[in-house]
């Protein structure tokens, strides 16, 4: 996996807290493009971004947040960790990235070489979550080592093609949480399992 701090440093600046900026399409898009550009340079890959798809993904994500936002403030931190998994679901289900060339520099057999678009979308979610977590809680995200295991990515890609919600579970695993695999994209279901 690429250094998360490098990806975080590549995110566009904002004079607002990131938890607010990321829910503004102009920042969300700029951040997504920055991640695609930086990952593309390292992978030797050129990507095209479908703006219309990205806007629809963003809108569905906002609605998913509204639908699942907990009323209990004590659940805020857990929801903070959960929310990026919802955007990853949307990104994987309606992939806004298209590989135009490459990947010429990605190590053969690596996750980036196996699935460049899925890899970039996941990196984007990790970077934004990592940056926002540092800002809000002064905590650095720990990413599970499965991120570098290409077999996890085989499973992720295959299962997400059958059920987009699988992406939410994969992301929670990356953050070290055990998802509810029956309903990985449901925050309340996840809470009940964890309790």
């Amino acid at each position: 996996m690429y250094d998360l701090q490098d990806l975080i440093a590549a995110l566009p600046p904002s004079n607002k807290p990131l938890r607010i900026s990321v829910r503004q399409l102009h920042w969300f898009r700029a951040a997504f493009e920055a991640c695609a550009r930086l990952c593309g340079e390292r992978m030797g890959c050129r990507f095209a971004v479908d703006d219309a798809k990205l806007a629809r993904i963003f809108l569905r994500w906002l609605r998913a947040i509204d639908a699942q936002k907990p009323r209990n403030l004590r659940e805020r931190r857990d929801f903070f960790d959960f929310v990026p998994s919802l955007v990853l679901c949307e990104l994987i289900a309606d992939m806004p990235l298209k590989t135009i060339s490459g990947p010429s520099l990605a190590e053969p057999g690596s996750a980036a070489a196996f699935w460049p678009e899925g890899y970039v979308c996941t990196q984007f979610c990790l970077a934004v979550h990592g940056a926002a977590t540092q800002q809000e809680f002064n905590v650095r995200s720990e990413i599970d080592r499965m991120v570098d295991d290409v077999r996890s990515w085989y499973s992720f890609r295959e299962n997400a093609s059958e059920d987009q919600n699988f992406a939410a579970g994969f992301f929670q695993k990356l953050l070290g949480h055990e998802p509810n695999w029956f309903m990985p994209a449901s925050f309340q279901a996840r809470m009940r399992v964890n309790e």
Binding site: Q24, L25, H26, R29, A52, A55, L59
Partner: protein
């Protein structure tokens, strides 16, 4: 007899001061967030986070205050220009520019859009001659500009996306000046919302349209 036009107060220093105040708040907030909450025991840590939330809200309120002051001071300007003609709404030019750019972004022919004079009149009616541009006025403007359009559903959708996007970009920008990035995002968001926008327009539901503006102006 010479009529001396009253001096309009300069908005920029006030806004500059508010920006400075906001910057100081943000700096203190970030330092506090970095150094304090995690060192405190749980009850105090919760209180500290509530305080941080309050500071964020205050920063947001300062942003809104800057906009309101800007609009308020503009509204003290005379209602007629030097030649005695009714003065255009201060944001009408910005809206016309946003509308033209949004039309180009959606590759809509110029002929598909309402005439400039119609747009300017509708803008003045929707907002009052000098009133602030708010979601209710934006909804009224949208319904007026879409009324009487020709060309079927696809054309209606195209026009609705452009008009809603242009108005949304104006509502979203803090100081009434739309940057290219804000405009582009507003139009893309408008396209993603096109079913909701068309639904509200077809049922002539100004309240539903205003709710869309109110909700999504923060998400451009």
């Amino acid at each position: 007899m010479d009529f001396k036009r009253p001096q309009t107060p300069d908005v920029e220093p006030v806004r500059h001061m508010l920006r400075g105040l906001r910057g100081v708040l943000k700096e203190g907030r970030d330092r506090f967030a970095r150094e304090i909450p995690d060192r405190l025991p749980t009850p105090a840590s919760v209180a500290a986070r509530a305080l941080l939330h309050g500071v964020d809200q205050m920063a947001h309120d300062i942003d809104r205050l800057a906009v309101n002051i800007s609009h308020g001071l503009r509204s003290t300007s005379p209602t007629k220009d030097d030649a005695g003609r009714p003065r255009a709404h201060p944001l009408a030019d910005a809206f016309m520019g946003a509308l033209a750019a949004a039309r180009r972004q959606r590759a809509l022919p110029d002929a598909a859009m309402p005439d400039e004079a119609v747009v300017r009149t509708a803008f003045a009616v929707a907002c009052g001659p000098d009133g602030p541009f708010e979601p209710d006025g934006a909804a009224s403007l949208t319904l007026t500009l879409l009324a009487g359009g020709e060309g079927g559903d696809a054309a209606d959708r195209g026009r609705a996306v452009v008009i809603f996007g242009a108005a949304l970009s104006l509502l979203a920008s803090c100081d009434g000046e739309t940057s290219a990035s804000i405009l582009r995002s507003a139009v893309d968001l408008s396209a993603a919302l096109s079913d909701d926008i068309l639904g509200a327009c077809k049922s002539d539901d100004g309240a539903a349209l205003a709710d869309l503006y109110r909700k999504y102006r923060a998400h451009v």
